[in-house]
């Protein structure tokens, strides 16, 4: 055919592909494993309603996005649009791209709806959110779905200090919907060399309030939950319950051990970071999946062997590196992508500019994670290394209360 009208061309395309009715499509969608459903309509049409489980790839982006969306050419595919015409062209294209089993939904979404099959209005990002998170949604591993997941996520930051500052800023920027922050301190001028959440004009303000100001200014989407208190055996379970991931950037051993033990009761993964002078360390403690803090270090050191940053100092940019790595691991855990730093400890030496990965293993005789949650008792170690002014000479261990899962 030399010159063809749209009608003629469409008819030719349809004769070269397979079409199925809404009823046949519904039957195939109900199968396990079902086919891949692809909605090739424009965004405004999709937002009005779609077939649950369908991937939304507008016709114009089909070729460029299909590899990332559906890598396996042998998977059965059902394509649909509004009335079955654009999807005919889409099916032809997919067949040309090597998909072996592609069909187009005859009559499209209109027929599907009319025949009483299930459909729903998709949860989508607002136009402002689409703009804000566009560099995320462009990444196939994140996409709009991943961004919605982040917006639904809750991360608890232990400490709004050196590590908590960059971690909180990046998590807020990434659109993690709820950020809990626990810190009992107020902003001090000596914090400002590294704690980039805080500012000169907020000296004296509780850190959780200062953090809220900074994070809200960066991203109003984020809900901030403030805990202006210390983590104790009394409040720890109540504070950490309900969070998806905990970012531990505290400055003292008693809190780190208490948090470890409680996270094993609550089953919440902890992204651990610590820093001293020019060196830092990051790892992920995934309860009962990998080692816990006590598998690695069964007990805290005595106070005279545990200088804090307040005593030993810390390079201001160091927590920027480590806290950002913690935020990265937290986002990966929330999205469920990549290889988390479980059973591996990444050490960073800023002076040597060297990263070393150390392997860690779960200890079958670990004093805490080998126990069931009901058996774990919390220990309030004497606060000995966070506030040098209050340093005491011994670190007596005593159990405050038994945790009940």
């Amino acid at each position: 055919m030399g010159v063809a009208t749209y009608r003629e061309h469409l008819a030719a395309v349809k004769s070269g592909i397979t079409e199925i009715s809404a009823q046949e499509a519904a039957a195939r969608v109900a199968e396990q494993p079902g086919p891949v459903l692809i909605d090739v309509r424009e965004r405004d049409e999709y937002e009005q309603g779609f077939i649950p489980g369908a991937l939304h790839i507008p016709r114009g982006n089909l070729e460029s996005r299909i590899d990332n969306a559906v890598g396996d050419r042998t998977r059965p595919v059902i394509v649909y649009c509004a009335a079955g015409n654009r999807s005919a062209y889409a099916a032809k294209t997919l067949a040309e791209l090597g998909f072996q089993d592609v069909v187009s939904l005859r009559g499209g979404f209109a027929d599907w709806k009319q025949n009483g099959h299930e459909w729903k209005v998709p949860r989508t990002l607002t136009p402002q959110q689409l703009e804000r998170y566009s560099r995320h949604t462009l990444i196939p591993e994140v996409g709009e779905e991943g961004q919605l997941k982040l917006l639904d996520s809750k991360v608890l930051l232990i400490g709004a200090g050196g590590l908590g500052s960059p971690a909180a800023l990046y998590l807020a920027a990434a659109g993690v919907g709820t950020l809990g922050i626990i810190d009992a301190d107020v902003v001090d001028r000596s914090n400002l060399q590294r704690q980039i959440l805080h500012t000169e004009d907020r000296i004296g303000m509780p850190k959780v309030d200062s953090a809220e100001t900074a994070l809200k200014a960066l991203n109003p989407d984020v809900t901030i939950v403030k805990y202006s208190e210390r983590l104790t055996s009394e409040n720890v379970l109540e504070v950490i319950s309900g969070y998806d991931v905990i970012v531990d950037g505290t400055d003292n051993f008693p809190t780190r051990y208490l948090l470890n033990d409680a996270s094993l009761v609550a089953g919440v993964p902890v992204v651990h970071g610590s820093i001293y002078q020019f060196e830092g360390s990051v790892t992920v403690y995934a309860p009962r999946v990998g080692p816990c803090y006590r598998c690695q270090y069964p007990e805290p050191p005595p106070p005279e062997m545990a200088p804090s940053c307040a005593e030993g100092g810390v390079l201001g940019v160091l927590p920027g590196v480590i806290g950002t790595l913690q935020a990265t691991e937290a986002v990966k855990l929330l999205l469920g992508v990549g290889d988390p730093l479980i059973g591996r400890q990444l050490r960073y030496d800023a002076l040597a500019m060297e990263f070393v990965e150390l392997k860690m293993h779960r200890d079958p005789e670990c004093p805490v994670c080998s126990k069931s949650p009901e058996e774990i008792e919390f220990i309030d170690y004497e606060q000995f290394c966070a506030a040098p002014a209050r340093a005491v000479s011994a670190a007596p261990m005593f159990t405050i209360k038994e945790a009940v899962a």
Partner: protein, 85 residues
């Protein structure tokens, strides 16, 4: 050597020590630098529970502990728990 022990070894980031096992190596090290002994070993000569030793990046605690053998050119990292944030 971790930062908190460096003062005791004259500020060195790396030091040499001899021994066919971690125990022998730490004995040699603490003989050369007596100031770090209490940090690494308890009164019974066992590794403190807040210190880890890695031989070629593997934690010895869950392997053969202080009896872990050390090849001549092995890298041994001594790492006490660090709490700063």
């Amino acid at each position: 050597m971790p930062p908190i022990l460096r003062q005791a070894v004259g500020g060195a980031r790396e030091v040499d020590a001899n021994g066919a096992t971690v125990r022998e190596l730490l004995d040699d090290l603490t003989t050369r630098y007596p100031g770090i002994r209490a940090h690494l070993l308890d009164d019974g000569g066992e590794l403190n529970r807040f210190v880890n030793v890695y031989v070629n990046n593997e934690d010895v605690r869950l392997g053969d502990g202080l009896e872990t053998s050390v090849e001549p050119d092995a890298t041994v990292i001594v790492l006490p728990a660090m709490a700063g944030g």
